[in-house]
């Protein structure tokens, strides 16, 4: 077990889910796998909070879901981004980059 994996900062899980789904529709398990792989196992996705987040985004109308056959042949619940979800992703990315930029500035000044 890798020891020092980062917990995803509060509030960013939604954004990461939206980003993952912007590439292609996917089910919960695949989203979890993908987040872990892409981040090269650097972030720990708390699987327990993944599903509540998916349902919350669905209720907000940013995701839509449908039951579809997965690669294993079993039916899985596939989530995909809605138009509003796409817009939301742009907004979130924007604010995230502004935040990281600001944090970088502060670090640089202190450095």
């Amino acid at each position: 077990m890798p020891t020092a994996r980062l917990a995803i900062p509060q509030g960013t899980l939604d954004m990461l889910i939206l980003q993952t789904l912007s590439l292609e529709p996917s089910h919960g398990y695949a989203i979890a796998q993908r987040l872990q792989q892409v981040s090269r196992d650097a972030v720990q996705v708390n699987q327990g909070s993944l599903y509540p987040a998916l349902h919350r985004l669905e209720q907000k109308g940013w995701l839509s879901a449908e039951w579809r056959q997965s690669d294993t042949g079993r039916d899985a619940k596939f989530y995909s981004l809605t138009r509003r979800g796409r817009k939301q992703l742009v907004v979130e990315k924007e604010s995230w980059s502004r935040l990281t930029h600001a944090v970088r500035l502060i670090f640089d000044e202190g450095g």
Binding site: H27, G28, Y29, A32, N46, Q47, G48, S49, Y51, P52, H55, R56, Q59, W67, S70, T72, R74, D75, A76, K77
Partner: protein, 899 residues
Amino acid sequence: MARILNLFPWRRRRLERDLDRELRYHTDRRVDELRRSGLSEAEARRQATLELGGIAQVQEEVRDTWIWRWVDHVGRDLRYGARALLRSRGFAATAMLSLALGIGGSAAIFSLVDQVLLRPLPVHEPGRLVLLDWNGRSLSANWGSGNLLSYPLCRDLEEQKRFFDGVFCRYPTTVHLLTGEEQDPVAADLVSGSYFPVLGVRPELGRLIDRSDDMRPGAHPVVVLSHDYWQSTLEGARDVVGRKVLVNNYPMTVIGVAPASFRGVDPFAAPALWIPAMMKRQATPEFDRLFDRRAFWMHVFGRLKPGMTAEQAKVGLQPWFRSMLEGETRLEGFPSTTAEQRRDFLASTIEVLPAAQGRSDLRPVLKRPLGVLMGGTVLLLLLATLNVAGLLLARGAARRRELTTRMALGASRGRVAGQLLVESMLIIAGGGLFGLLAAPAVARTLVSFLSQDADLSFRVDQRVFLFGFLVCVFAGGVCGLAPVLQIGRIPLIASLKERSRIAGGIRLRKALVVGQMAFTLLLLIGAGLFVQTLERLYAKGPGFTTSRLVMFRVDPPSIGYSERDAEQAMRTLLRDLQDLPGVERAAVANTHMLSGGSSSTVMVVQGESRIVTDRVLTMRVGPGFFATLGAQLVAGRDFDEREVRPPGSPETAPRAVIVNQSFARRYFGDRSPIGHHLGWGNRPNTVTNIEIIGVVRDFNRRTLREEAEQVFVSFWDRDSGDGAYYLRVRGDPESVFPAVRAAVRRVDPTLPVRSLMTFDEQIDRSLATERMLATLSSGFGVIALLLSIVGLYGVMSFVVTRRTPEIGVRLALGATRSAAVWLVVRDALIMIGTGAGIALPAAWALRRLVEAQLYGVSGFDGPTVALAAALLALAALGAAMLPAWRAASISPTETLRAE
């Protein structure tokens, strides 16, 4: 908002099913993966579940996203709570019944308080209406009751435009109105022309009386009908305007109909018609002193200018009022007075009273009893609330294991507390609902006690509903919070381990019982005081023997008799009654005694000097009246044939008068008044030619409480249209009722016998308020006692259960059984004592509020207080003895073995 749809069960089921599948898919995939890395099936499944952090927890969190969390929780708690309550029906019923009593009672009484004291008149800006009154000695002759002024004074006040947008006056009376076939006595208001315009009332039909109808006496024979009368007697005829009607046989024209919402300025006595004040002589033939400044008969109202307060108007009016008083003393016709009377007169002020609710004779009569009742029900409500809180605490304690188990399984304290709160709310809602359903019946009962003829009822309108709702919220807060507080303090692990010894918020429960003891003692003291008041009034009586005394009234003019024919009928009837076999004596008088009404006057006493009396009650009585009542003449003689005018001869002014002892003592001191002379009224030219021929022992005439100066003149001096007959009978008084009815029928088969009853019955009626207070306060006391005893018993049995091992050990170590009893009884005594310690100072502080309703006892009557406290202590100790006895019969060996 779409989330609210997720509450629907079909939608909810689909969501649940999908979530289940979704999570299963996830775990299965993960398990497969883990197994491929070499874990066993079971190990893999464990690991997968762990990673999710528990399937149930995830489900719970996901559910929260479906709908607002609290909505969901409340919904589930409601179902759970309802099921839990259904399982313990006895508990639920007891709690709801206690609350229904408190809530129903207070809502009923609030509806009466609202109607009697709070509700404003349905007119334009009622908040600006004020009632004007004379504060001081007015040296006036009065007709009517309370807050009276003269018509000229009303017109003077109209000129005070700095303060008023308008001033109007009214005189309530009864007239005989003939609109069709039947002539009925109906309530009428004589009003100034400004009445409707100043109130801002618009007609339903035609026009209303205005200033043009208020110009010259006798010149405005017009009437406005009330909506009720128009609908009920004239069936809402559209062509009613312009019709001729007869008012006391005088032709007048209907000019309009008032709107349904407007029922006059007395909320409890709506007139059937309004007549211009200028028609005074026609409307009230018995007296006509329209322009007499010393004749007070009208209620005068003003509409304050916007922004003006009653207090400002009162202060502002005084300079004018003072100069008006000065002016009046110089007017011709001002009564001759003593220096003291004149000084008092000049020191009078004008009072400006807020009158948004109009004015009613009933209000001052009902205000105090209703206040006392409201206080009583509020106490009872508090008590019921405490009782339910105690019940809920006890229930909470009993369910403690259930609750702690739920908390251990992951329910937050908030969730468990919320659930208890919902349960309390269910009980309160149930209690509130039953209470409000029962309230109309309670109110009807109260009304029948309070007043037979007042226009009072229970209406569940918004205000009463709002009140009931607020009471429920309050009760819910008090009883709902107690168990919640208790939950906050449960040490989870300890109470899971601990199996038998549970604390159960015992201190809080004891505090609740102390509160109940205090409220109960207050209610018991109240009950004692009101019961004694009633008993003392009954014991005192009116001042003569009332058994075997019967009375009734006849009113021949009401069925169309002329005054002269009526008098003839009255004389015939009296003779017939005197000849009835069961009748010992019979006599006639002008009024029903102890009915609250009376006429009064001021008089001039010609002793060594002329003295103007204060108001004295007057009554017209026939010969033999005092003998019939058994009221003893202490000096002089009764009226006899000399004072009976021969039939058909013209009316005469009274020539002889009998005074009561109070009158004699006040105006003659030790001297005998016999042979001295009085004059009727207080004008300077009042002739003092009425000779005092007798002095009669004091007796009550209007109410049993009153000690008043009274004079009696002969019934037969004047044409006497109507009157009351008094009969002293042999044997059972009710046995003569048929003979009395037959005697009246022999005179005229169509003449109705009114208010035929025994004198004792009339006393009962006159004491209606006192009886209501005594009955209800006793009822309150009994209910309170029961509730608090149940509360005490509950706590004490709980204490004994909890201390069983301790007591067992003590007994094993040699403590006596009586020591064990004492252990429990001491606890109860402390609670009773603390309750009394709170209640007694409170009773002392509250005594002034009830004193006006009492008779013959003080508001903090020592024996009553002691008796109430003893009763409470005895009942409470009785309730504590049962658990105490159980404590004493604990077997030491068994309890030790259980340890």
